[in-house]
Amino acid sequence: MSVDRELPAKAPEFRQLLGPLIAHGVDFVLIGGQAGISHGSTYPSYDLDVVYSRDRDNVARLVAALGEIGVRLRGAPSDLPFQLDARTIENGANFTFDTPYGDLDVLADAAGMRSYEDLKSGSVAREVFGHLVRVASLDHLIAMKTAAGRTKDKLMVEEYIVIADRQRQAPPEEE
């Protein structure tokens, strides 16, 4: 394991990041480590990952939400111009942002997902910090972590399988 991995200044602040996305009606699904934690994972996660619908109206809503949050490209040279508008989002796909509230990754495609519709149809609605958020299913998280394939992803896959087994033994949660 590298000891040089740069960490963010802080873990994500959910209310401040999710609030604008919800308020602007952005169609998105929570994925990644935070989605795993909401299912019961014990692995720490240092950013917030969402997959968004590429629908044109949704992109416009996403742009408005990102503008309200206040984002800049993470790791990009400070003199690299970045215009936050629908065209930029439509010309790209996956964006990793620095925000005043922690790291926010906004993805159109995540390795291991078949389509946004497929991801969303398998997701569960969860109340998270007072917001009803769609969270990727454990099965889809397992597929995405398997596709990512890093050592930490493989460890998470093992844990997610155990969580899924234990949840199946327990009464179902809210859907």
């Binding site: 960490l7 963010p8 873990a11 014990t42 969270v135 844990e159 155990v162």
Partner: protein, 111 residues
Amino acid sequence: MGTPGQLLRDARVRHGLSQKQLAARASTTQSAISRIERDRVSPSVETLRELLYLLGEDLDLGTSPRDSGIDATLIDQQLRRSPTERLDYGVAFANMVIANSPNPRREPYER
């Protein structure tokens, strides 16, 4: 458990057959058997079952739970919390790691 190729090779040698002899039994070529045994190709379960059958062996497939080393007591603690409580705990944990890590840390982004 070894590879399908090792499994086939071990069984063939155990029965004293050459690759050519097994190929003859299976109506295939020696090179096809060789490719399987050297793991150049991965045979289907059915193909492997047939080749082993021709050697007088049955293929038994089984599954068993994997010991992944995951501590289920920690997971059970998490599952007793609500999703928001889990994420709150995760944030606190991540912030503790960030605060105590020797790794470099990015400057906070202020608008």
